[in-house]
Every structure is written in C-alpha cells, then in structure tokens.
C-alpha cells in the first residue's frame, strides 16, 4: 500500500503538486488522470525519490519514502516504468532485463523464463538491441524489466502513449491480470482516461497539481462534469 | 564584421573611452613611483592581462575553452620577433599589429576544424596545438633561431624620456619605466577595444550562443561563424600579448611558451573572474606580483626558495587556487564583495558571467 499525505512539489514558481493526499491499496489499480501538465509524472517521480517534495509524506506500508535515495526505493520493491519507457536502446533486450533483476534477490534465469513466457515476443528478440524495437515491444520490455524484480508496487507513467488502440487494450488487460494475480499495488498514470478507467479500481483526477476528484473508478467514470471539464473524454 | 558597425553606433563608447583612458593614465602615473623591478613586473603583467582578456572573451562570452592560447602567444611572439630581428627600425605599432594579425590567422586555422567541437574536445584539440607549437619552433631553426631563440631590441627609450630621470641609475629607471608605460598603453587600447566588443551586438549575440545555441540559431546567428570569430579574436589578443611579452624581454625562445603557460592563463582568468574586464586586470596584477607572493608564502612557511619545494611553490599555489576558485567561487574575485571590487571599478563593465556554459 502506498499512502501519500499533504504532498506539495514546487519547481521554482511552478507548483506542480499542491497538497495531494490519497491511498493506493494493495492489490488494486489506482488510476491517476489529468490533462498534460497536471502533475501526474511529478507525482510518480516524487514517489520514486527523483524529485524531493517541499512538504508532505509518502509511505510504502510503514516505511517513509521521502528523503530516501531512488535506488533504495527501487530496492524496497517499487517498480517504476517511466514516461517514455526508459528502455536503454544501446543494450539488448536481455541486458535490459538482466539490469532489472540485478538489484533484487530473484533468480535471474527463472525471472527471464517467466518474463519470456509472459511476453513471448521479448524471448524472440532477446539478443536484439532495443533501438530496433517497436513502441509496443518497448512498452512490454519496460514492464517486464520492472516485473522481473518482483516488485510490490508498480508505477506506470502513460503506458498507452503512442500505442495502437488494440495494443492499448491488450496492455490494460495484462495490467489488470498482473495486479490480481500478484497482489500488486498499481498506480497507473494515464491521459487516456477511458481505457484506464475500464481496468482501475479507483481513480484520482489531478488538475494543475491539485486533486479535484477521488473515488471508485466507476463513479469517476460516471461523473459527467469530471469527464467534460478534466478528462476531455466523451463516453457515449 | 558586425562589431565594426555596432562599435560606432554604441552611444556609450565615449564613456568607456573616458573610463579606460583614466585607468590607463592612473597606471602610468603609478609607474613613476615604482622601482624598476616592479615596473618590469607590471609590464609583463600588462602583456599577460591582454592575453587573459582574450581568453576571457572566448570562455566567458562564447562559452568555448582554449588551452592553446600559449600557442597563439608563441605565434604572435615569433611573428613579431622574426620581423623585429630583421627590421630593427620598424615602428613598434606596426610590429604589434603584425602579431595581432598573424595570431588571428593562426586562430582561424585552428578554429575551422575545432568549432564543430565543444567543451572537452575543443580543450583537448587546443592543448594538442599548444603542445605542437614549441617543437615546431625548434624544427624550423633557420627562421626561428631554434633552441637559442631570436634577439631584438625594439623598445628603445627616447631621449626626452631619459632626461626625466637623474642619478646613478637613471638609465635603468628610465628603460624599465618606458617599457612598462608602453605595455600599459597597449593594454589600455586592447581593453578599450574589448570593452566595446562586450557591449556590441556581436557581444550580445555571443552570450546567446553561449547560453542557448538553439535560440541563437533561431534568431539568425550563424553558430559556426560566431564561434570561429570568437576564437579568432581570442587568438589575436594572445598574439599581440605574446609579442608584447617577448618585445619586453628583447628575445623569443621556444621555452618562453610552455603548455604550463596555458594553465597559468586559465588560472588567472578564473581567479579574476571569467568574462569581465576587471577580472583580466586582476589576473594581470596577480601575474605581475606572483613572484613576490610566492616569496612571501615561502618565507611565511619557512620553505627554502631554492629548494625543490620552494621552486615548485608557485605551481602548487596556482593550481590549488584554480581548483578552489572553480569549486567554491566560479565567478572569481570580481564576484566577491571585497574592497578590491570597488578599487578596480569592478562593477564589471559587462555583467559577470553567471555560470559558464
């Protein structure tokens, strides 16, 4: 479980997050929605320790994360698939995966087997340099690289960006399945509210750094005003 | 070039002229009260200040770095020296302009392949250049005099100046001071020139090149040409400074311009304050009196100046100063709020370099 309380982040004069509080329960998907510049990425980066907040606390179960180094947060079991996926193009698929497994205690070969079973296309391309991968393959690799370390928490920053609609819906289903089978805590940042809300348990809407709505995914999805003013989707 | 036009259209050129003139005259007056040794030191410092100023322009304004300015100094010094060696009656102004031009041309030759490079590549390339110059001077010994160097005597003290002095050491006094005064005047002219360059359109464009090359390009600045021209100006300043430096010594030899001199130049620039006129003045003063400073440190610490440690004290002090300044006060002495700052009219004529890019 991730618990965020009173989190504020400023970049100079820009207030990227203002007093954000929420709880992401274990075994559930929490969707974080909002327009470009709402502060979604900043929220995930702050959880991972890449950005230090002006005020507020973040807890992973009972461990306070604020002030901890990013690599130590990762070693606690927080997997972060960053915006743009962060696949290292100059390394091969398998080297990227090995890198993901290095800092955890999992058995490397078993982990690789498991991920190749889950994403067969990665197994086919294990020796290829990542520069040759398509957008969808990169997303799978980034997910696999986070999952191979057996994380407790998965932070996903706009995984659907740049993917074709079918690929997106497959991806969303895979995320839902993962969450259920591994009792993961998932925080799913999306601009694509429609597909995120379809799989999320609860949802949080950010606007200019503030939480404007939080609740069940279904109630957020049904809220006409939220849809119109903040999510920019017309669900018919 | 752009700066010629902007130089004339600058409204404040007049005030800068007055400022530089008064600083020069003040220094000239001071030379009358200094003993001959101090006069000679001051003269050397004035020559070095010109070179430091050229480097400061390159680094502080165009964001490039050069470890080749000792090489450009050598080029200017040899150009002036070879000429002065053969044509003893040429007016000094001509010899200096020759060094300026030849220095600038050598800068152009190095700049053309280097402007594609930035930061470390450029620094390495210019280092390789200055490492190659000295052996070259030795190789072409029929022209350069090889190891032994060339000798010339261009700074002849005029009769009327000699008459200003009396006493047993009149000639020594007069010669030392005449040299110092010449050097100060040349430095004054070069500083005035640079002050105008700082404030010209070219200067502003150069800042943009340094801070945001994308924006500069969007505004129509040709980056490669801007960087090249900055290099050429810097090399020309090194050329004339190097020439003045050897004219003062009445000789030029390969070992006058070791690579270590490039490091010294860098140190002086960083210590004074990158990209400022006053920083270059401070650098020149530090250079002038560095031997006294080092002697002082040696006597304070009880180190024998002729011992190994004593002989290398200057190298150690300068390098530690360079490192410490860069780590803790990268804008140099001009950025410190000390009385020095006011003394050297150190509200820098140009805004001090925030951080060098």
């Amino acid at each position: 479980m991730i618990r965020v309380e009173g989190l504020s982040v400023n970049f100079g004069a820009v207030k990227a997050l203002r007093n954000v509080s929420f709880e992401a329960p274990t075994g559930q998907i929490t969707a974080v929605l909002g327009a470009n510049g709402a502060g979604k990425t900043t929220l995930l980066r702050t959880i991972s320790g890449l950005v230090s907040p002006q005020s507020g606390t973040i807890h992973l179960d009972d461990v306070a994360l604020v002030g901890m180094a990013t690599e130590n947060i990762a070693r606690l079991g927080v997997g972060h698939v960053p915006e743009g996926r962060g696949v290292i193009e100059e390394l091969t698929v398998e080297q990227n995966l090995r890198l993901g497994a290095l800092s955890s205690k999992v058995n490397l070969n078993e982990g690789l087997e498991e991920q190749y079973a889950r994403f067969p296309v990665l197994g086919e391309r294990r020796r290829k340099y990542c520069a040759t991968l398509s957008g969808g393959e990169r997303q799978m690799l980034a997910m696999a690289r986070a999952l191979i370390a057996k994380p407790r928490v998965l932070l996903l920053d706009e995984p659907s960006l740049g993917l074709a609609p079918q690929v997106t819906s497959q991806l969303m289903k895979a995320i839902r399945k993962l969450c259920e089978t591994q009792s993961l805590t998932v925080i799913l940042v999306e601009q694509n509210a429609k597909s995120a809300l379809r799989i999320a348990h609860q949802a949080l809407v950010l606007h200019l750094g503030s939480v404007v709505a939080i609740g069940d995914a279904s109630s957020v999805a049904d809220d006409e005003d939220l849809r119109r003013y903040y999510l920019g989707v017309v669900v018919t | 070039m752009d700066w010629w036009r902007s130089l004339r259209t600058q409204e404040t050129t007049h005030s800068r002229f007055i400022g530089m003139l008064s600083l020069t005259v003040l220094t000239l007056v001071i030379t009358f009260f200094l003993p001959p040794v101090a006069d000679s030191q001051l003269a050397g410092g004035a020559a070095i200040a010109i070179v430091v100023l050229g480097l400061s322009w390159l680094t502080g304004w165009s964001g490039q770095i050069s470890l080749g300015n000792s090489g450009f100094m050598a080029v200017g010094a040899y150009a002036a020296g070879i000429w002065a060696h053969h044509h003893t009656s040429t007016p000094l102004v001509f010899t200096l302009i020759l060094a300026l031009v030849v220095g600038g041309i050598s800068g152009l030759i190095i700049a053309i392949p280097s402007t594609r490079l930035r930061g470390p590549y450029l620094a390495g390339m210019t280092l390789a250049f200055s490492a190659a110059v000295t052996p070259l001077a030795q190789n072409f010994s029929s022209v350069t005099g090889g190891e032994g160097g060339l000798f010339f005597n261009s700074l002849v003290t005029p009769k009327w100046f000699l008459h200003l002095f009396s006493g047993p050491y009149a000639a020594i006094n007069a010669n030392a001071q005449w040299s110092a005064d010449l050097a100060v005047v040349v430095a004054g002219v070069m500083f005035f020139f640079m002050a105008n360059l700082f404030h010209s359109r070219t200067g502003r464009a150069m800042r943009l090149v340094r801070d945001n090359d994308v924006a500069a390009e969007l505004m129509g600045v040709n980056l490669a040409r801007a960087r090249t021209s900055a290099f050429v100006v810097s090399a020309a300043f090194a050329g004339i400074g190097g020439a003045l430096y050897s004219l003062l010594q009445a000789s030029v030899r390969p070992e006058t311009f070791p690579i270590g001199l490039s490091i010294t130049l860098l140190t002086l620039m960083v210590l004074g304050g990158i990209g400022t006129l006053s920083g270059a003045v401070i650098g020149g003063i530090i250079y002038s009196f560095s031997t006294n400073l080092v002697a002082h440190v040696n006597s304070l610490t009880g180190v024998n100046p002729t011992s190994n440690v004593g002989a290398n004290m200057q190298g150690m002090i300068f390098s530690v100063l360079l490192i410490v300044t860069m780590l803790f006060a990268p804008r140099g002495i001009v950025s410190l709020k000390t009385p020095l700052r006011r003394l050297f009219r150190a509200r820098p004529l140009a805004p001090a370099a925030k951080e060098v890019h």
Partner: protein
C-alpha cells in the same frame, strides 16, 4: 624472412605499434571516464604519474618489480576514486567547462607536487625485461623482450576491460549508469557508486600505462605523461570518445603515424601529425570514426 623482419620498415612498424598500444591503453582509460561521467580527465596522465612514483620509487625494491606494479595500480585506483568523490562530484550538473578547469588545475598541482617531492630529473626504473633486440640468422629483429612485455601487458589489460564490460554484472551496471543514469537508479542501480568505480577502474588502467612507460627508455619524470596524454586524447577523439574499440584503434593509428614522421622527417613535427590526423578524421566523420549512433552533443 629475417631480412624482411630487420628492415627499417618493420622496425618502424614494431616501434609504432609498441608506442601506439600505450596510447590505446590511456585512450581506453579516457573513454571509460568519459562514458561514465562525461568528463574528459585532463589529469589522467598526471594521476598515473603520481601512482608510478609512489609505487615504483618509494617502495623498497626488495619486494620485487611486480609487487611495485601492483602497488602503483592500487595507488592509482585509489586516487581515481577519491578524485571523483572530492573534485568531480560537486560539479555534476554544472557547465561542462567547470570540471575541465578543475582537472587542469589538478594536473598542474600533481606535476608541481611531484617535482617538489621527487625533483624534475628523470629517474630510470630497472626494466623488468631486456631491451636488447632479438637476432634471427644474424639479423637484428627490432623486437625485444621489453617490447613484447609492453604489448602483451597492454593487450591483456584491454581484453580484461572488454570482458568486464561485456560479461559481468558490474560491467552491465557501469554501462547502464553511463547511458541512462536516471533509469538505472529506478532499477535500483547505485549509480553514484558506479561513477566512482568507473573512475577507479580507469585510473588503474592509466597507472599500468604509466608504469610501462616509466619502465622503458623514457623513464619517469613529473611531466612524462604530458605528451602521452595529448596523443592519447587525440586517439580517443579520433575514435569518438564513446567507443573503447575506437580508442584502441585510434591509439595504434597515432602511434604508427608518429613513428613514421619521426623516422622520415623529424621528431619535432610528430605532435603536428596527430593533430592533422584528428582534423582529417573529424572531416570524414565528425562524430568519431567508431561512434555508432550519429547523435552526439559536440
């Protein structure tokens, strides 16, 4: 065959290769640092020189040549790691000329310090192998045990470094930290430790090069790595500063070129030869002859 091996041409090839492989080694060490921290370490040669002084002259030679080599390398590595922590770490994120200036200052300091402690006169270290040329059927072959030692040791180090980067977990983490520090941290890699390790490793490689140089005819004096640093920088820049293989190839190219200029023209012109090669290389491929991707911040 022996006539051919003893021809001036072969002499120049052997000598150029032996010198070039030293450049390759130093160039490789520069590439390791460049890749991990994007700093060109101008004090690389001077750091190695200090390590050699400490290891090869201060230690009682009763313990033997190879122990002294090991001590030099350990001292060099320690100096590398400490330098990264103390001088370079405060400068990450600062303009790129700041670390250049600091390392140039460090270069000046180390050379002055060495001259203050050990004087500027050249010291000769008893070479571990004979410098006498071999003979074959009465003809001199311009190879000696020392030259072979030099080549074998340098090659051995280069292969070990390549194996480290290619086959080990540490190598993978070092590469990842250099390529994508933020992503690496998100994956739990201790990036700042990797940077220190990169400097440590690189300084160790540099120290071995300096030990080889000091053991030969060249001897040991405070500025003895200056020219080697410049040539090695050119070698690394010819290869593109990003590519270990390019650094090695660049070193051999520069070494052979210099040797032929020395043989057929004059040693005074040799430094110019390196510059001309760099200029030509830059004109052919500005991103470096061996750099794969074409995007480089130059």
């Amino acid at each position: 065959m022996s006539v051919f091996l003893s021809s001036p041409l072969m002499h120049n090839i052997f000598a150029g290769f032996a010198q070039g492989i030293i450049y390759s080694l130093v160039a490789l060490s520069l590439v390791i640092i460049w890749q991990s921290t994007h700093v060109l370490n101008f004090a690389q040669g001077a750091m190695a020189m200090i390590a050699t002084y400490i290891g090869m002259t201060e230690i009682d030679r009763g313990i033997g040549y190879w122990w002294c080599v090991i001590i030099s390398v350990v001292v060099g590595m320690t100096l590398g790691g400490v330098t990264e922590r103390v001088l370079i770490r405060p400068l990450y994120g600062k303009p790129e000329i700041n670390p250049i200036v600091v390392m140039i200052g460090f270069l000046g300091f180390l050379e002055a310090l060495a001259a203050a402690i050990w004087t500027s006169t050249t010291r000769n270290i008893a070479e571990p192998f004979s410098q006498i040329y071999f003979k074959s059927n009465g003809h001199l072959v311009f190879l000696s045990s020392f030259v072979i030692f030099q080549i074998v040791l340098a090659m051995g180090i280069m292969l070990s470094v390549a194996a480290l980067f290619r086959f080990t977990k540490l190598g993978l983490q070092l590469r990842a930290s250099a390529l994508a520090p933020e992503v690496s941290r998100l994956l739990g890699v201790r990036v700042s430790r990797m940077l220190t390790i990169g400097w440590t490793l690189s300084a160790g490689v540099g120290a071995i090069a300096a030990v080889i140089i000091a053991s030969g005819n060249f001897g040991l004096f405070p500025a003895n790595m200056d020219g080697i640093f410049v040539a090695s920088f050119i070698a690394a820049a010819v290869g593109g500063l990003e590519s270990p293989l390019g650094a090695v190839a660049g070193g051999l190219i520069i070494g052979l070129t210099e040797q032929f200029i020395v043989a057929y023209w004059s040693p005074d012109v040799a430094p110019l030869g390196g510059i001309i090669i760099l200029v030509i290389a830059l004109m052919i491929r500005p991103q470096g002859l061996f750099t794969k991707n074409t995007i480089r911040r130059v």
